[in-house]
């Protein structure tokens, strides 16, 4: 049976993982490779690296990080952040990333999804959507630039369009829930998961193991992503997976 995936997300700035301070047992908690191997050992099904570098130098460093990770890691990983062109996509995939995740650049230039999918196949192109509930319109709106810019796009419609263009997966982050640790946005996750026929990764709001169960059962997500609860050791990938197994969820 196809397992639900648990995906830790690592924010990388200028080649270093930020928020990794709690990993006292690691030699270097800022080293992306060491953290990747730690999560792999804990049973992570996949990893996401989000490059939050603001400079070109930082971006170039990320390519080196991807190569180093790919040399060691034997599970899939996705790289996102600052990918603006087909050239960027090629560079990262050739460096060993399994998938790239496009966010603001896909909103600005939806054709980038199609170009990437044509070149490397749909399975390599993840469309990341940051969505926030708008009480005014009663819909979920898409935001770009790390959640700073509101767009007129409806999240459900944008997800459908992204898939039609060739996205092989949707990484859906609820800005309302992100950082709140009160659970994933189940309504939004379910809406999008039912609207598209590709896998959906729920993101934003994980606070405890039960939140993952809800994301899969109520939210109909295929995978769930979390950053800080894993980084700050509030729970671990292993204990989340043990909990889900006990609840009868298909888990590797």
């Amino acid at each position: 049976m196809l397992a639900k995936r648990i995906i830790p997300c690592l924010d990388v700035k200028d080649g270093r993982v930020v928020k990794g301070k709690q990993f006292v047992q690691l030699r270097d908690a800022g080293d992306p490779v060491e953290l990747a191997m730690f999560y792999n050992h804990e049973g992570a099904d996949e990893l996401v690296f989000l490059d939050i570098s603001a400079s070109n130098e930082g971006r170039n460093t990320m390519v080196e990080v991807v190569k180093q990770v790919a040399a060691k890691l034997n599970i899939p990983f996705t790289v996102g952040g600052g990918i603006h062109s087909l050239e960027n996509i090629k560079t990262l995939l050739r460096a060993g990333a399994d998938k790239v995740s496009l966010n603001s650049s896909a909103v600005a230039n939806p054709q980038l999804i199609a170009e990437g999918a044509d070149f490397f196949g749909n399975q390599c192109i993840v469309c990341a959507i940051d969505a926030k509930w708008s009480p005014k319109t009663g819909t979920y709106k898409v935001y770009t630039h790390g959640g700073q810019k509101e767009t007129p796009l409806d999240a459900v419609e944008w997800a459908k369009k992204a898939v039609a263009l060739g996205a092989g997966e949707i990484l859906l982050t609820s800005m309302d829930q992100d950082g709140e640790k009160k659970g994933f946005e189940l309504n939004l996750t379910k809406k999008i998961s039912e609207a598209v026929d590709v896998p959906v990764i729920a993101s934003g709001g994980a606070g405890k193991a039960a939140d993952f169960l809800n994301a899969f059962e109520e939210g109909k997500a295929d995978a769930a992503l979390a950053a800080s609860i894993f980084h700050y050791k509030e729970t671990s990938v292993a204990s989340v997976k043990t909990f889900l197994k006990q609840k009868g969820v298909a888990i590797r």
């Binding site: 397992a3 040399a71 899939p76 995939l93 399994d98 196949g121 399975q123 590709v198 896998p199």
Partner: protein
Amino acid sequence: MIGIVDYGMGNLYSLSQALKRLEQSYIISDDPSELDTTDGLILPGVGAFKDAMGLLNEKHLSDYLKRYAQTKPLLGICLGMQLLFDESEEGVLTGGLGLIPGRVVRFAGVSDNGVRYKVPHMGWNTLTFVDAQSPLLLGLKPDYAYFVHSYYAELKNRDTLIAAADYYGEVPAIVGMGHVFGTQFHPEKSGTFGQALLKNYLRLVSQKGDTCSCGEEKC
């Protein structure tokens, strides 16, 4: 020596790194005269079937691979496995290498009893061993493997099925005929299980490499 067939489809880096982790020497090449120096080949691939066959034909690799597989082991991974079959209905019906009988078809996206399901089949799925005696499965227990694909092989001959996964029906996960093998999942991304499976293939290649064409060891 292992050869990774580089015909311009997909990401060879992860696979080459997996071989490196297994301390296996390899070359990456699209040149038959170089590939001829190897004891076994790996045919990787992501992307579309038709594009892949187009490139293999253009580079004169199709006929070469068919000849190679007569005497030495060949392992196709993901799209590389699909290319081993007679044909694929991806896009327009396109002929494959014809090394294993069967046709590559798309997941319907709707089950027999009308349930919609996601395509691609993406993520970790459990394997069932059909031919547990296969040299590829030596010492292995059924485990999870990492899949990502929208098409799967319909086998003409069930004897070629080594392991299967279940995704709204039986999905051939490992196939083999003679010393031609294929894995629909990515062993290089399937954790310790995948690594062990690759190691089994490398062992098979090295044993084969020690065997003379008369079939006797070091004749």
